[in-house]
Amino acid sequence: MIEFEHVSFEYEKGKAVIDDMSFSIDKGESVGLIGANGAGKSTIMKLLLGLATGSGRISIDGTDVNSENLSKIRKKMGFVLQNSDNQMFMPTVYEDMMFAPLNYMVSREDAEKRVDAILKSLDLEELKYKYNHKISGGEKRMAAIATILAMEPEIILMDEPTSALDPYNRRIVINTIKGLEQTKIITSHDLDMILDTCERVILISKGKVIADGPADKILSDKELLEKHRMELPLGKQ
């Protein structure tokens, strides 16, 4: 369970990016974090991952997110970055996928088995030994998801997982996300994707939770969405 209790954060003094925010996410939930640019979505991710520290309490399964517990917390979470180029830094997909398991002291043999199983489940076996600089944007995004799954995380955080993808690759990514059983937190402006993959939506604006509830209900509220610089998803128009 993820708990945000009265969390505040500011990059500049007096300019709160996250303002006394509280919410909780249960195990296995799939939650979409939506909001206009600068609403604070990415900062929430950073706070959860311990990449930024604010006031208040953030805990995961009862363990506080703080410098002492960082490795324990991060082992549970996988973060898919918006720009896959910034995530895939090893020469090949295989080496990138091996990176996290080896860091977490999984034996090379077991890590290889894990990598093979994940590639097979995502139907990406042909990417295994491909060079990261030679695969397409869609393949790279799928490979980035695969590298995170190789960690066997309990929680998956995704920042704009469908950005800059063509419709075909977007659909592949959406179907993959839908098939993941872990707790998922997805930030995106692609509200159709959120509607497709998340059962719950948290609407953020100016660092505050404006609405929190079933995705279908919030993403059908035209007035609410437009008030916070968003539009109804195409599927609801």
């Binding site: 490795s71 996988g78 973060f79 970055l81 830094f89």
Partner: protein, 264 residues
Amino acid sequence: MEKALAELGHMDEMAVMDSPVHHLNAGAKLLATVIYIIVVMSFDKYSLSGLVPMLLWPVFMYQMSGIHVSTCFYKLRIVLPLVMAVGLFNPIFDREIMFTIGGVGVSGGVISMITLMLKGVLCLMASFLLVATTPFDSICAALQRVHMPKMLVTLLLLTYRYVGVMTEELAVMTDAYHLRAPGQKGIQFSAWGSFLGQVLLRSMDRAQELYSSMLLRGYHQHFHYAPIKKFGSEDAIYLALSIAFFAAVKMINFGELLGSMFMR
């Protein structure tokens, strides 16, 4: 820039080609390269005839690796002129005539200049051969095995990766510049400062994000390199033959020997 990026990628691909040299143990190749460079550098500045046979080792290894020697010169085309520039002033300062060819005196400065240039080229050829036939991770693993400080090895690996990130950012910015400066050749001098500043800031941002991505995947200042091939009998033979060749060239001046045979 796109070409530079492709070339960087090509280096990684070359390193995993299939040849007897590629299959050698990374540590053995590293050691042979280091010894080769030391031996090359140990030659006296006038010992051109002694140094020339050292060229045989990289040329032979290039042949064995299936990589054309011209690939090395092409990839190192930016560094080579700098290496060639070493000793350029020697002919001015050292004018003592050492011997004459067809009545034309050859000064010590000319000999030492050519020797220095050759030394640079040979060292570059050997270093390139190592990088082109060994994945960079394996070189780092070998360096760690010979107890080079972990921090230095990690720094080396990250620098290698960072070059790609910086080149990518440079490519994006150069394209953006040229699209708004049609017909302009290169980047105007007045824009150099801000351009370089932006490249640095952008690549630092990206490097920061990459580093975060590493931390989030359990990185703790230690890279788990893929296991390198164990040191086998073929590596021992390669190393022994290489060292024997270096020693022979160092001890016997084959150039002079050959010359004296013809002079008789």
